[in-house]
């Protein structure tokens, strides 16, 4: 059910285009799946990407009193500060350019060797190359210090180097660039490898048969075909390098780059405006490059993507000299990488690196005694955020590839933005945006979803208005019952205060019972008023909604005793594990009420069309009232300090990966398959679930794996959001690096890498079954 839109109509005036937009939106509204997908994706992107970033940018221009002050930007021109500020900027750019250049080159070397040079043990090479994507951001810096630091194993114990004044050591810009190249080149490798595999060898064969030399072919055929990929990977590496915080902190020495300058401004100088202003400076090159990549590089693509690697075997470089040069170089770099990782492991089992190389497993004891909760909680949160990122990614990709609507480009662009901007900036934005309730955002999302509800209920504008107004009114009254004096006095509610002040303030339990009671009543009424197939479904869904709402209180009856019981258990590990599990259970049953309200709005809107005509309006009003009350209960979306902000930050950071993966595979599926399903009577939902989803599953799973790894290893966005209850492993490692010594940090890193590896294994096992299922389905369908 593709909504074909009158896009070809010439647009002459702005009013004309407005009319067009409105008409277009009406068309979208006819397809409920498209509408809800669009609304949900739009709400998510707006609330958790656009709004926080805007808050950061604005913060940089205003001081705490709300006056416009550009003093931090002016510092670039004040004689006192200018030198230091420009130095930082220059180092940042130098770091970005060199790291991008180096990692792209290295990525190319590896890709070419693997695809064209027939390197032995290709699978193993591939696996080792991907190691950096699953290790914590500072792992390389850590092992570089252990090996090549001033008292490193190689520098001191093998080469017996002495570091006096003026001698170049590994700390500084060169050290950062080295670590970043090793850390990021595997992504360049993936990009270029994909491209190389897709280049049709027949082109090169044609050139060869016409008598061109190998070098000539490489220069005039292969390289031009690769240019877009090389440019894309260069720009991506540049952005990644600028956003990196872990490596510059550890190995930067006395070199400050923008990301560390921001970190020090916020955490050391307690100057949020300075941090925000510098964030803006960092955002500028990032955004420029990002736009360049999307609108320049992607347009200059010479390659007709055939969808699959070409069937003919790729030509291998025949000259043994070239081939063996590439293989030797690759092997040498691989040895370096492997030894860097081996060093981390060796460091973790060494008594005192650099002084006493005796075998000692006590660091792991320390890790599990002090970091057990962090390990468990980080793994849990990362795992929980993975499907969120996955589902959001598939929905956005589906909208972008299969549907057409204006603003599509914007949705695509924004969904990538959250992962592309430096994590530091996103983290600061989250603190600014979600420390208090962002009522403005909540209201916008609420109205957008309410629109979805009343369009599902009726087609008449009068009734729609009635539903919106009376539903919201009852909802506010209900929410009012939950407010204490402080909230009622808040400025946003001044108008209501006079009218509603007589209402009592209810305790949470009581209030939940009332709201849940309304849902129960609706569930029972649905038995009477919903007819046909949907009756059972409607009853079950409404009952579930009520029960889940009430469960947030009931669950305490389980988790409280559980954690108390757990703490009384003896031993080093049991109490922490049990209390962690108990807080996981509580977390799953206690989502922020505002998010619950949004979800219930969508669920309600899907139920309403089946409701009997005459009473449907009342059902809609009641549903809207319940959802409104939930949405505006307490301080909606004041998420800082809860685990949910960490979850969302994780999901937003890895969203680009899942979106990209899903888009790539969706583009390879001929829409005709889906159209066939539609023309045979399957609705959009059915088609998506039974046709599209199975086909994109492999890419989707790859996206999930990457997301999980990215969650586990993300540091810069999370470092500002950690809460006492939910310790995060990467932040803990960073704190241990400087305090407990490198061995402990190395042990933590090893544990983290092992967790990610195990998770990948499990996901592959599960995916293997899923693949088989989908293969069977394809056969069955045939």
């Amino acid at each position: 059910m593709d909504t074909s839109l009158p896009l070809t109509r010439p647009v002459s005036t702005s009013s004309n285009s407005l009319v067009r937009r409105v008409r277009e939106f009406r068309l979208i509204a006819r397809d409920p799946v498209l509408l809800v997908g669009l609304l949900a994706a739009g709400a998510f992107i707006f609330a958790f990407i656009v709004y926080p970033l805007l808050r950061v940018i604005v913060q940089g221009f205003f001081d705490q009193q709300g006056q416009i002050r550009l003093n931090y930007f002016a510092r670039y021109f004040e004689p006192n500060y200018a030198r230091a500020y420009w130095d930082v900027l220059a180092w940042t750019i130098e770091m970005g350019v060199l790291a991008a250049l180096g990692s792209t080159l290295l990525g190319f070397l590896f890709a070419y060797t693997v695809v064209r040079c027939d390197i032995p043990l290709k699978g193993l090479v591939h696996a080792f190359t991907l190691l950096p994507t699953i290790s914590p951001p500072f792992a390389i810096a850590l092992s570089t210090i252990l090996l090549f630091g001033r008292s490193g194993f190689v520098t001191r114990d093998i080469l017996h180097m002495r570091f006096g004044p003026g001698i170049n050591d590994v700390y500084g810009l060169d050290g950062i660039i080295f670590c970043q190249i090793i850390t990021f080149f595997s992504i360049a490798y993936l990009i270029l490898r994909g491209l190389l595999e897709r280049i049709d060898p027949s082109m090169e064969e044609a050139a060869l048969s016409l008598g061109a030399s190998k070098w000539h072919i490489f220069r005039t055929v292969t390289l031009p075909l690769l240019t877009p990929g090389i440019a894309a990977s260069f720009l991506l590496m540049f952005v990644e390098s600028l956003a990196d915080l872990g490596n510059p902190i550890l190995i930067g020495g006395n070199i400050t780059v923008l990301s560390t300058q921001i970190w020090i401004a916020i955490n050391g100088e307690h100057d949020q405006q300075k941090g925000a202003a510098l964030s803006f400076m960092l955002l500028l090159p990032t955004l420029t490059v990002f736009l360049l990549q999307r609108y320049w590089v992607s347009r200059r693509s010479y390659i007709a993507v055939t969808g699959k690697p070409t069937s003919g075997a790729a030509t291998f470089v025949k000259e043994p000299i070239v081939r063996w040069t590439f293989i030797t170089l690759t092997t040498l770099v691989l040895i370096l990488i492997v030894s860097l990782y081996a060093t981390i492991f060796a460091g973790s089992i060494t008594k005192l690196w650099g002084i006493n190389y005796a075998l000692d497993f006590s660091h792991y004891e320390g890790v599990f005694q002090r970091g057990l909760e962090a390990i468990l909680d980080t793994t849990f949160l990362s795992a929980l955020a993975t499907p969120i990122a996955g589902i959001a990614g598939v929905v956005i990709a589906f909208l972008v590839v299969r549907k057409s609507f204006s603003g599509k480009q914007a949705v695509d662009f924004m969904s990538n933005l959250g992962g592309a901007v430096p994590g530091t900036i996103l983290g600061i934005g989250y603190i600014l945006a979600f420390i208090r309730a962002p009522i403005f955002v909540v209201a916008i999302v609420y109205v957008a979803l309410a629109y979805f509800l009343f369009t599902a209920a009726t087609k008449e504008n009068g009734w729609r208005l009635l539903i919106l107004v009376s539903g919201s009114f009852f909802g506010i009254v209900l929410a009012w019952l939950s407010y204490d004096e402080k909230l009622r006095g808040a400025s946003a509610f001044n108008i209501l205060n006079g009218a509603l002040n007589g209402l009592p303030t209810l305790a949470l339990t009581q209030w939940l019972w009332i709201v849940g009671g309304i849902l129960f009543a609706l569930a029972l009424a649905s038995l009477y008023f919903v007819s046909g197939k949907m009756k059972r479904q409607a009853f079950l869904v409404l009952t579930f909604m009520a029960l889940y709402l009430l469960a947030r209180e009931w669950i305490l009856l389980l988790t409280d005793p559980l954690s108390i019981w757990g703490r009384r258990l003896g031993g080093d590990y049991l109490p922490g594990t049990v209390t962690s599990i108990s807080s996981w259970i509580a977390l799953v049953f206690q989502p922020p009420l505002a998010i619950l309200g949004f979800t219930y709005l969508v669920l309600g809107a899907f139920l309403l069309p089946a409701w009997e005509q005459r009473t449907r309006i009342f059902a809609a009003i009641l549903l809207l009232a319940v959802c409104c009350a939930l949405t505006f209960h307490g301080e909606p979306l004041a998420l800082v300090g809860s685990a949910y902000i960490v979850l969302i930050a994780y999901a937003v950071r890895s969203l680009p990966a899942t979106v990209r993966a899903s888009i790539a595979s969706l583009q390879q599926i001929d829409p005709a398959i889906e159209e066939a399903s539609t023309s045979l009577g399957g609705d959009a939902q059915h088609t998506f679930r039974n046709i599209t989803l199975p086909l994109i599953l492999p890419a989707f799973i790859a996206g999930l794996i990457f997301s999980f790894a990215r969650h586990m290893t993300s540091l810069s966005a999370i470092i500002f959001l950690t809460t006492p209850k939910w310790p995060i492993l990467t932040a803990l490692i960073l704190s241990e690096v400087e305090q407990g010594g490198l061995s402990l940090a190395a042990a933590y890193s090893v544990v983290l890498i092992v967790i990610v590896l195990v998770a990948i294994g499990l996901l592959y096992l599960w995916a293997g079954r899923a693949f088989r299922a989908s293969a069977e389905m394809t056969l069955g369908a045939g």
Binding site: N80, D87, G149, R150, S151, R156, F163, P165, G166, I249, N254, I264, I266, N267, G268, E269, H270, Q272, K351, W353, G354, I355, N356, G366, I435, R436, A507, L508, T509, Q510, W513, I514, G516, G517, F520, A521, L524, A525, L527, Y528, D560, S563, I564, R567, T579, E635, A638, V640, G641, T722, T723, P724, K725, P727, L732, S735, E738, Q739, G740, G741
Partner: protein, 361 residues
């Protein structure tokens, strides 16, 4: 007919639910009635719930204290985040309107003075204030913070460096740090991120006066190999031989020596600066009851003697608690003016950042 029966049933069920719902809050889950008080503990009432602690000393000590408190109060879970004093202050400021922490334990008191001036702390008159060793220095007049440990600045010199350079002696005065043999060999944290380093800066400015002090700092910066982020990090760097001398708190040096790092501890003969570690209740804390219990517990003499168990050798601040390494405070201390240092912190750190710690290139 059937439908009407169903509807009546529905109504009946909803009504009962309402009755249950309204009756339920008789025992709200938030503060359940406490079980029979346990006669074995000294407390009248068993504490229950979660305490969120902001912890600034090293991870190991934070974790140890958490476990000690939980063992003493089995109904309480202590959650903590370890943040450096700068990060901690930022967090408290950010979360002023919606505090996530209940108590802030550890970290130099100039941060606590700053927090007090910004209205981030809650006044509290603890009984334990009576046994504070030196109330003039270690207790806020309004009871917003109290000192919980004391530590003096010292120099850590790498033994291998001394062995390889037999003519070099461990520095015995501030001016010794400027000697040519230590050029590019000194490790210290950056004052913007570390209270340790700020204590050094402020000690110099008080000993030498501001003019001569800044001149000294300029020369000193030439000697520094690297400004680390965390105050105790130079112990690791110098211990492993990355540099020759680290300027660190002496208790951190002792802890480093205990783990096997080859270090020699020395002090400036003309007098050294010191820190007082503080503790305060967070204003608007959500678990104030527990926070106060922690506060009281933390200034009990027996609690203050727990440090060495977790490699924390700071001296206690209350009478009746024995110092694990008394020699660390039996050196000449300057008359450190915490007020002066606290008030000027932003200005001094700014000056340092902009004029001195321009990376030497």
């Amino acid at each position: 007919m059937k439908h009407r029966v169903l509807l009546l049933m529905a109504l009946a069920i909803v009504l009962t639910l309402f009755v249950i719902g309204c009756a339920a809050p008789a025992q709200p889950t938030g503060t359940p009635p406490t079980a029979a008080p346990q006669p074995t503990t000294a407390q009248v009432m068993e504490l229950k719930g979660e305490l969120n602690m902001l912890c600034t000393p090293q991870q190991e000590w934070c974790d140890g204290m958490k476990k000690e408190f939980e063992t003493k109060n089995p109904g309480v879970t202590v959650n903590f985040v370890r943040l450096s004093s700068g990060e901690a202050l930022t967090r408290l400021r950010n979360e002023k309107e919606n505090p996530q922490f209940d108590v802030w334990w550890g970290g130099p008191i100039d941060s606590f003075i700053a927090a007090k001036n910004e209205g981030l702390l809650e006044p509290y008159q603890a009984k334990g204030y009576a046994i504070i060793r030196d109330p003039k220095l270690m207790l806020d007049p309004d009871g917003q913070w109290v000192g919980i440990y004391v530590g003096s600045l010292g120099f850590a010199t790498n033994n291998d460096f001394l062995k390889n350079n037999p003519n070099v002696k461990p520095p015995a005065s501030m001016d010794d740090l400027l000697k040519p043999e230590f050029k590019g060999q000194v490790y210290i944290a950056h004052p913007a991120t570390s209270g340790t380093s700020y204590t050094f800066l402020c000690t110099i400015l008080q000993q030498k006066g501001e003019q001569a002090g800044w001149d000294y700092m300029k020369k000193f910066a030439q000697q520094v190999a690297q400004f680390t982020k965390s105050g105790a990090a130079p112990v690791q760097s110098v211990g492993k031989g990355e540099g020759a001398v680290g300027v660190v708190f002496s208790h951190d040096i002792v802890a480093g020596i205990e783990t096997g790092l080859p270090l020699t501890l020395s002090f400036p003969a003309e007098g050294t600066g010191y820190e007082i570690g503080g503790m305060g209740l967070v204003k608007g804390a959500k678990n104030m009851e527990l926070a106060k219990a922690w506060f009281d517990w933390a200034i009990e003499p027996s609690t203050q003697e727990l440090g060495p168990k977790y490699k924390a050798y700071q001296a206690p601040t209350v009478n009746g608690a024995k110092a694990s390494k008394p020699e660390l405070l039996q050196v000449k201390l300057i008359n450190y003016d915490f007020d002066y240092c606290g008030k000027n912190k932003k200005a001094f750190v700014d000056k340092f950042t902009n004029e001195i710690a321009q990376p030497p290139q």
